[in-house]
Amino acid sequence: MMRSMRFDPGLIRARQRERLAEWADMLPVLAGRAAWRIGPPLIGIALFLALWQAAHLQYGAFILPSPWQTVAATVTALSGLAGWAALGATLARVLLALGLSVVIGGGLGLLSGYVAVIRAILAPVAIILLGMPATAWVILTMIWFGPSHGAILFTIAIVTGPILYIGTVDAVRGRDRRLEDMAASFGASALARFHRVALRQILAALGPVIGIALALGFKVAIMAELVTNVAGLGAEMARARAQMDIDMALANVALAVIGLLLIEHLLIRPLQSRTGHWQRPDG
């Protein structure tokens, strides 16, 4: 009898209708939620574009091209190999330098977080490095290394390194040590306590710090490329400035923003959600 009820076409259709009716009831709620999620950012973007367009109308295309002109120039830049090469060069430098910063700054941060003497020794160094303006490093590395790929890498790494160092020290010191005591009571070795309990918390705390370091690294990379004229988005901007090509200058700014968003959404956000999902109530 149960079997005949399960395969009764009338019953199945009735259930499908019921389900459709449920969806129809939920539709306004879901639409409302989506509108609430997407609506405000869209309003923000529209406001920004409207202000940009208004400024363009006020000052003219020579001073500020319209958003549409900028999009067209960006598409032109990306239609040739040179545009992709510039974007790729800057992205590669930022990623490489950020990797170096994570290894050196993060490694020293881990050490300092656990060993008070090393923390005390490195604290003033970190503060001095953190206080140095990025522009000063661009000038210094130009003098030390000349206008080279290495100079830009060094500049990005030395600017973002202290941020990652301090972020890691804070992450180590801010972890919940009671969890490690709990693990110790079940016989966990120091290494097991570190990689099963402490590291998870440290990585979760480091996610936002890496995001900040990435954004800063991108800005420093473009500035250093602009000054040293080494291939990349910064060098393209320098060329656009020399040729008074404001469309191309803004197109390169747009490319820089696109590059940053690409790394943020393809690399940093997935990393953050993998390591820190448990910190969000809905994670």
Partner: protein, 262 residues
């Protein structure tokens, strides 16, 4: 059978002596409640008994194969669901996934956790459920000795009573011995075979009290009568009358952990 001997244990934090030549013998199968005022070093002694801390001086003789520990505030891994939290000690021991799943299932059933609770993270569990997960995590190693460090202090009275009943039924069924840290005389009289009293400055065990009958068989009237009678006992003078303002500032308990707590 399980038993534990702590012999002339001394321990200091940052030069301040918290425990000074404390000795305590817990006989096989015996559940001993350790009471003492705040700042007397109860949690430090629990940490030493549980293997979290190594004492500066003294000897620990464990006559059991495995112990489990239940902490004040459940100390669950916030990123792991209840199932993984219960199985955590077994993962540390490198046990295979299938055996872990079976043991977790058995431990969860022992503390009456529902299957749908097992997939919830700690932030989605109530205080009582978190306490049950913490107890299940201690049971999953199949311990023959359990250390409880004020595990129910943060729970409301009704929930605390339910958790005490759970401990009573588990200890009755499994026959494990243990050390139960508490500052609640009623809780101690309800759960323990014997109540040991720690000196207010951690200078040894000042004495022991034995409530009539065995844990789980005492009536409420018996427990109430025992507590009322022992309140006047000179042994418990500090527990009942200690003014925490009279304690040295560094003796004030910090709940952030053993190394930072007495």
């Amino acid at each position: 059978m399980s038993g534990l001997t702590l012999a002339t244990i001394s321990h200091a934090f940052a030069g301040r002596r918290v425990l000074d030549t404390v000795s305590l013998v817990i006989r096989p199968g015996e559940l001993v409640a350790l009471v003492g005022p705040s700042g007397s070093g109860k949690s430090t002694l629990a940490a030493i008994a549980g293997g979290v801390l190594k004492p500066d001086r003294g000897r620990i003789m464990r006559r059991y194969a495995r112990h489990g520990m239940v902490f004040q505030q459940a100390r669950l891994l916030p990123w792991a669901d209840a199932r993984d939290n219960i199985g955590f000690p077994l993962q540390l021991a490198g046990m295979g996934a299938e055996r872990i799943a079976a043991r977790v299932q058995a431990a969860a059933e022992a503390v009456a956790l529902r299957p749908d609770d097992l997939s919830k993270r700690p932030d989605a569990l109530s205080g009582g459920m978190r306490a049950r997960v913490a107890i299940a995590r201690a049971l999953v190693v199949e311990p023959d000795f359990l250390v409880f460090d004020e595990p129910f202090a943060a729970l409301d009275p009704a929930l605390r009573r339910r958790m005490q009943d759970l401990v009573l039924s588990l200890s009755g069924a499994r026959g494990f011995g243990g050390l139960f840290i508490t500052h609640d005389l009623f809780e101690a009289a309800r759960l323990a075979h014997r109540i040991a009293v720690l000196d207010r400055q951690g200078r040894g065990i000042t004495g022991s009290l034995t409530p009539p009958g065995a844990p789980g068989t005492r009536s409420e009237a018996t427990i109430f009568g025992f507590v009322e009678k022992t309140r006047d006992d000179p042994l418990l003078r500090d527990l009942v009358n200690v003014d925490e303002r009279a304690l040295p500032l560094e003796g004030a308990c910090d709940i952030s952990g053993f190394r930072r707590c007495c």
